[in-house]
């Protein structure tokens, strides 16, 4: 049933948006910025209201006169701003309902969207309360009507039972205090609107709260023109001794008040309460859209090589942005095509979008729009990064193998020297892709710190049967040419925090941690840093001396090796067990820490939930799993191996 409304609704929205694209182009189509335009109009309302408040007099004898002075005494400032105040408020109602209708039509209100939906319903009430309250202030006949109608409506409630109207039934009952109260409400409720707006958008990744300036500018100019052409006027001074007969009516804000005089207050309460309840419950009403597991799906994002959870009903773009993936995007409405990417594996619901943004041929070739598509299975996505941290461009480099040094029975240190004396700039923790013949790529983290930019250390672990790692261990020799692309990835040391850092390295996950630590030492970072390096047996701990040297040289650094299965011959007296359990034993409260974890997906997946139950904030968790999760396909295990696992 819902689908029968959604489908034609989507068709209609897409057709109208396509029509607007002809005029505005895909990047400046106002219909793609309905929420942001609502924000922008709210600021216009607030700004114009502040000016009006300077001249508004909060007394029963002067309220009307002060608004008349604003309207007629300074028509090109006060008059225009009064009109903008009203028309922008009406505009908020239009854009707010269109925004709501689009999200409902495109099925973006269920599942995890419930929070934004519910706060949106609260905003509806608050915007209406603010607007209706605003109509009381000029104390004209409209104000008289709105005030009395509000009292008559609320008097139906058992708590009032006909007593509220007594405050407005005789002229003598209205005094200056009423206007102080109304002004207080008219400041307080819009503040609440802005507060709930902040909450409403805070949980939406990269939510736009300002439209592009050409849209905001044109809209403002259009409102000014409308204000000059048809100024908002008062409708004669209020006179409680006379009945309100006919009014010029604001049908954006007052339709419920019209209903009050065509039905009983009780019926109007039932209508409003029923509509509110229906709106509030919509995310949970049938039919359920359950097409996959409740916990959603996983996606592997390339070139970042990160594995990210996608919640039920969440677009790939939202999931990526939530995890700070630098996906390119613009309209977020399937119109501009900026977020076009390649579906390398898995099934998706492509969603509703403009054919100009994604042609059928592109779709057949495996392309999708990140902002429209939702996963129907675990997926792999390849996208073209527009920008990476620090605006460091990604490019292809040529280098030569300078040396090969075995670090352990299955780990090889490979030093690359860039050709032509070039230097590469990267962030500590990032990685590169070695380019193989046939177009395949192998990912390895920089083990060197960024300050050593003329040569690059990789720590490559031998994977039996692995094409490239076998080549490294058996055939690679000094002088061999290597081509790679980079720097890549968003796993890097954040310097905008003073919290102590816990590094969690699993096996060759030590490589990016080494880069980060050497960078931190060189920078003179004084934050407390502890490295937990988890390996299976003592022989897998391939650089303990280096870590112990750091410990001796830097008071703020501590090294804790953890062996999960120490061999008898290891005669190990140190920590044993799983590395994250060792951390939790030492740090039962992680609320004041940052954690950088680099290891297998299994390690990361086991560690993070445990860390979070011990107070670690999601914002302080940084990880770059370097092996594909079992949930993602297994026929390309060599695809992602940050830290050099294959």
């Amino acid at each position: 049933m819902t689908h029968l409304i959604h489908a034609p609704g989507q068709w209609l929205f897409l057709r109208v948006e396509a029509f607007f694209n002809l005029a505005f182009g895909e990047r400046l189509n106002p219909l793609y910025y309905l929420g942001a335009i609502s924000y922008s109009l709210m600021w216009l309302v607030v700004g114009s209201g502040l000016y009006l408040y300077i001249f508004f007099k909060t007394s029963v004898t002067d309220a009307y006169a002060s608004v008349e002075y604003l309207t007629h005494g300074q028509p090109y400032v006060g008059g225009v701003l009064r009109s903008i105040h009203r028309y922008a408020s009406d505009g908020v109602v239009i854009t707010m309902f269109l925004h709501l209708a689009r999200h409902w039509t495109f099925d973006r209100y269920r599942g995890f969207h419930w929070f934004s939906w519910l706060t949106g319903v609260a905003l509806l009430w608050l915007v209406y309360a603010a607007g209706i309250n605003g109509y009381m202030l000029p104390w004209d006949r409209m104000a008289q009507f709105v005030t009395i109608a509000t009292a008559e409506w609320f008097d139906w409630l058992p708590v009032f039972k006909g007593t509220l109207i007594r405050n407005f039934i005789f002229p003598a009952a209205v005094n200056d205090r009423l206007f102080s109260l109304l002004s207080f409400i008219h400041i307080g409720v819009p503040l609440a609107v802005l507060g709930v707006l902040w909450v409403h958008t805070h949980r939406v990744p990269h939510a736009r709260t300002t439209p592009p300036w050409p849209i905001a500018g044109t809209l403002t100019v259009a409102l000014v023109v409308l204000s000059l052409a048809k100024p908002a006027l008062s409708q004669g001074e209020a006179d409680l001794a006379k009945a309100i007969t006919t009014l010029e009516f604001d049908w954006f804000f007052l339709p419920v008040y019209a209903a009050l005089y065509r039905a009983s207050p009780g019926e109007v309460w039932a209508l409003v309460a029923g509509a509110t309840a229906l709106f509030a419950l919509l995310p949970w009403l049938p039919p359920r859209r359950r097409e996959g597991p409740r916990e959603g799906f996983h996606m592997l994002v390339r070139p970042d090589n990160r594995i990210i959870g996608v919640r039920e009903g969440e677009t790939i773009l939202d999931a990526g942005l939530r995890a700070a993936v630098a996906f390119p995007y613009d309209c977020c409405s399937g119109g501009c095509g900026t977020c076009k990417a390649k579906l390398a594996y898995g099934k998706v619901d492509f969603g509703a979008y403009q054919r100009t943004a994604l042609s059928d041929a592109e779709r057949a070739a495996g392309k999708l729009l990140l902002c429209s598509a939702t996963p129907l299975s675990d997926i792999e996505i390849e996208y073209e990064p527009e920008k990476l941290p620090g605006q460091i461009p990604v490019r292809t480099w040529s280098a030569a193998v300078e040396s090969l040094t075995p670090l352990a029975h299955d780990v090889m240190r490979v030093i690359l020297r860039l050709e032509g004396g070039e230097r590469i700039h990267f962030y500590a923790g990032q990685y590169l892709n070695i380019l193989l013949e046939g177009g395949e790529k192998r990912s390895f983290s920089f083990a060197t710190a960024p300050q050593q930019s003329d040569r690059i250390e990789l720590q490559i672990r031998l994977i039996p049967g692995g094409r490239y790692t076998t080549h490294v261990f058996e055939k690679m020799k000094a002088g061999d040419a290597v081509r790679f692309e980079g720097p890549l990835g968003s796993f890097f040391l954040r310097e905008d925090s003073e919290k102590p850092i816990l590094f969690v390295a699993g096996s060759t996950g030590f490589a990016p941690v080494k880069s980060m630590l050497e960078y931190a030492f060189a920078r003179g970072l004084k934050r407390k840093m502890v490295l937990y390096w988890g390996v299976r047996t003592l022989r897998d701990l391939y650089a303990p001396d280096l870590a112990r040297q750091w410990e001796r040289e830097h008071e703020n650094f501590k090294f804790v090796p953890v062996l999960s299965e120490p061999a008898p011959e290891d005669e190990w007296r140190g920590r044993t067990g799983l590395v994250h359990e060792a951390i939790l034993a030492d740090f039962p409260d992680l609320s004041g820490y940052q954690v950088y974890a680099c290891g297998s997906v299994g390690m990361v997946e086991a560690a993070y939930p445990a860390f979070q139950t011990h107070g670690l904030s999601q914002d302080d968790c940084f990880s770059d799993a370097f092996r594909l999760a079992p949930k993602i396909r297994t026929d390309a295990l060599e695809l992602a191996k940050l830290g050099g696992t294959t």
């Binding site: 607007f20 005029a23 006909g162 409102l223 052409a229 009945a243 006919t246 009516f249 604001d250």
Partner: protein, 167 residues
Amino acid sequence: MKKALQILFQLVLYVPLMALIGYFSTAPRFTIVPEKSALVRLSFVHAAERLRECRERTPEELAKLAPNMRAALDCPRERAPLRVELEFDGEVVYRREVAPAGLRRDGAAAVYHRMTVPAGSHRIVARLRDRASGEFNYVREATLDLAPGASLVIDFAAARGGFVFGA
């Protein structure tokens, strides 16, 4: 040229939006009270008499009470409901029995009723009983000429003798 046409097209698309806002912010006009009608509202808040009369306590009863609680009269708190009737040109248009407010029914009762009537001369009778039984103990009747758009408020103030017909 194409850019100019596109900008023109954009401006053209803003026109219907502004027209929509400009029009529906004031139109169509809404009629609350028709032009040739008047508004009559019955509104008052009044505390009725107690449901049962006060009783004088016996000396024995007083002796059982704490010294500071020895009031001579024992007055039940509950008040009688108000019985209200409004007759308009010989026809009863409003008749209610209104319970006192409060969990113990010891508060004042509030009455509110609005009606739109044709402008002109009308015979209005308001009746109230604020005790447990008996006939209406407050009655006021008057013939009033209500102008179009006039607002008549029928209030009640026992101190002023009962119903007050006024603007």
